[in-house]
Symmetry: C2
Subunit: 292 residues, 2 copies
């Protein structure tokens, strides 16, 4: 704990201050950060508000000032929220892109200024340790919560889940042939659906069905590529088990496909034991159970 505290102080204060200094070039920091966040690809106003955590009025004013400086233009959104005429999008002008490139360059300068005084060995150790810290901090920022399975973020996860297994199963995946699962099955009291988010982006999900008779059943456990290996799957699994245990279930079961090696490994190391086939799931090759 002491080392976390020291880290927070030393690193965020010192590196943070440096970062700000490199970022703001004459321009107020708020504007510089905003310009950076818009990026060459442009960004919707609402997204910027979320990422930077700014007040709507304040953000609007900042956008206005960047626009006055000729760095950005603001127009109707053409991206994902295309149709909605209320949503607006900020895009860099040529001057804005040039300025953004300077910021990008300075970001490199900052990295260089940290690495230069060190020996080769120290550099390698520092980058390795930074990578580790970053990954683990991201892991610790993942929040898991119960949501209705109809939640748009849950839907997005489920779509990604289906896309992935369709790609990984030997014979593809046709939802019509698999055991169906209606939203109600994952809604209290029949069950629950958990969503894992990182900085409010959905990065994983999992559902549990609380069957009237017999063990509870875990379904639709999925973790986004970007956060694999961070223990997110295991955390979701644990919370699903916890959910069932709290409601009096003595065991949980699940089925899985032989191609999902990491998942199978995780089940085994989480205390699941392989059991005989207990359902007729078309795509399953292994069946597991864990006593709670």
């Amino acid at each position: 704990m002491a080392s976390v505290r020291r880290f927070n102080r030393t690193v965020t204060q010192r590196v943070g201050a440096l970062d700000d200094e490199y970022m703001a070039r004459g321009r107020p920091l708020g504007q510089a950060r905003l310009l950076w966040e818009i990026g060459p690809a442009g960004a919707e106003v609402a997204a910027l508000r979320g990422r930077l955590g700014l007040d709507s009025g304040y953000l609007s004013r900042l956008l206005r000032s960047l626009e006055a400086d000729g760095l950005i233009t603001i127009g109707p959104a053409i991206g994902p929220a295309g149709g909605d005429g209320r949503v607006r999008e900020a895009r860099l002008t040529a001057a804005g892109r040039a300025e953004w490139a300077v910021l990008d360059e300075r970001s490199d300068d900052l990295a260089r200024s940290i690495l230069t005084p060190l020996s080769d060995g120290q550099r390698d150790r520092l980058t390795a340790a930074m990578h580790e810290v970053e990954r683990l901090l991201l892991a610790s920022m993942v929040v898991i919560e119960v949501v209705p399975p109809g939640d748009p973020r849950a839907r997005a996860c489920l779509r990604a889940y289906v896309r992935e297994i369709a790609h990984r199963f030997d014979d593809g995946f046709d939802p019509a042939l698999s055991t169906p699962a209606a939203d109600e099955a994952f809604t209290a009291p029949a069950g629950a659906f958990l969503l894992a988010t990182l900085a409010s982006e959905p990065v994983g999900c999992g559902g549990v069905k609380l069957h009237r008779h017999g063990p509870a059943e875990i379904k639709r456990l999925w973790v986004a590529e970007a956060v694999r290996g961070m223990g997110v799957g295991r955390r979701i699994l644990g919370e699903l088990e916890h959910h069932a245990a709290e409601r009096g279930y003595a065991a949980v079961r699940l089925d899985t496909n032989r191609n999902l090696h990491e998942a199978i490994r995780m089940y085994r190391s989480s205390g699941y034991r392989e059991i005989p086939q207990y359902n007729a799931e078309r795509y399953a090759h292994h069946w597991f159970e864990k006593t709670l």
Copy 2:
């Protein structure tokens, strides 16, 4: 480099923002930071100015506001700068100490909030990686510069140097019996004196004498306990060699005491070879030379 950049973004933005939020409890951040920095032991105004990097007038005003809130008192310094009637010292009142304790507690909360979602193994890896990052970042923040040997920070290093060798040499250390070295010997053009600082605190030093005839000579190489093992000594040594090489010297020499094991190891691994005794230094047991 990319991992340094990603680290800077993720860590300073996310943890930095959290840190600020935890720190400022209703109070402006500047005041909270200042209160924290004063600490239960109190602090001199000049020290606070240095540590927080604030303008003298601004700091004065912040102190005034904390005083008005009954959290601190400001009086004549009683610490190291005791005699000087101009120096003033801030001390926490009972209310201030209570408030400080709350900040301390919140600092723990933040650390806890980072560690809680992780598994035991991840926690260990995170704290280890944080420790590594912190040390290496500190190392990279060490600045080495040429200063007159009369500089108060250089003097402080030399005092620490003498104190340390007096303690480590078998038969103590009496400056009168050692080869004397006047300030002029470390002042251009006769030589140079380097000072290493970390956040403007002196943490190491070293001098080189540019003898009229024969190799240059390195003396008074010292590194503070707190930053040992960070490669600071090796950097100072390298810069001293560089200084001599630039001025046409083909070799540098130095003598050392048999008890200074780390130093001897560093000389050897930096390319120094042991040579026969070349001076009458009372406290030396080994003599080294490196061809530049």
